[in-house]
Amino acid sequence: MLERLLFTLILLAAGVVIYQLSVRNQIRRTSAFAQTDPLLQAVKPGVPTILYFTTPTCAPCRTQQTPALARLQSELGDAVQIVRVDATEHPEDADRWGVFSAPTTFIIDASGHTRAVNHGVADDHKLKRQLQEAVN
């Protein structure tokens, strides 16, 4: 039984480590092209951006993520830009950004570098905190 427990713990720990490493890699990789990416060509320079990937089948996107982003936008006004992308309409964009689930949100700082990525719903408090960290 002890070896099974050990195997389970190692597998779970490996899962966590692999996920953390993949998130770091996703941030580093997308930072390299974010400034010149077609999705972000229309954004105003010098203003942080949230890049929001959604899909039509994503219920939490419709009922939680979109309202959270709307609240954030109304609170911060022009201090943040939100770019919404339907991953099913633009699968090549989703592939380029490494999106495998919806909602996924990327925090892009004012200089056009990816600072954080959220897989799953991120509430407006978390997004606001990430934006503040991106400014500092």
């Binding site: 039984m1 099974r4 427990l5 389970t8 597998l11 899962g15 039509p56 089948t57 994503c58 219920a59 939490p60 419709r62 009922t63 939680q64 495998f100 689930s101 919806a102 909602p103 897989h119 799953g120 719903v121």
Partner: protein, 153 residues
């Protein structure tokens, strides 16, 4: 887990509790080398999939977890059918795994169990419901029985 007042609404916290129970019970099953626990999960998932009021995961959520206030209900507009289909797929995997353990094919059994653990983790942590994606894909292809298209606004 369908909200009783509106069949087009789903309590996603209830789903998360079910996923957490699946993960914990299957991990315990592996550690204890117990076919009984695998069978318990298979039956619980099946009863959840057919949406009976006495489904064990539903009872744990409505009678224990929800009243305790540990988690808040998160009832949102959604189709319950894809989630039930996902549970059904999980129950089939676990039922085959339980039978495989009983007939002396542990390698097959534990591979199936770890697949379910991995998929339940994907759903729990990242909201990636592979069974739901399969359901909507079948709906798009016009497969009989998969009648619900994604809710869009």
């Amino acid at each position: 887990m369908t909200s009783a007042s509106n069949p087009r609404r789903v309590d996603h916290t209830g789903l998360k509790v079910g996923q957490a129970l699946t993960i914990l019970l299957l991990l315990a099953a592996f550690v204890l080398n117990s076919w009984v626990l695998v069978a318990v999960v298979a039956i619980s998932q099946f009863l959840g999939a057919v949406d009976v009021p006495f489904a064990p995961y539903r009872l744990v959520y409505t009678k224990l977890v929800k009243p305790s206030g540990i988690v808040k209900p998160n009832v949102i507009e959604d189709n319950p059918e894809p989630h039930r289909f996902a549970m059904l797929v999980g129950s089939v995997f676990n039922a085959i795994a339980a039978i495989a353990l009983l007939v002396g094919a542990p390698a097959l059994a534990w591979v199936l169990v770890w697949v379910v653990i991995a998929l339940a983790n994907l759903n729990f942590w990242l909201n990636v419901c592979v069974g739901c994606l399969m359901y909507y894909q079948f709906n798009r292809l016009g497969v009989p029985g998969f009648t619900r298209a994604p809710i869009s606004r």
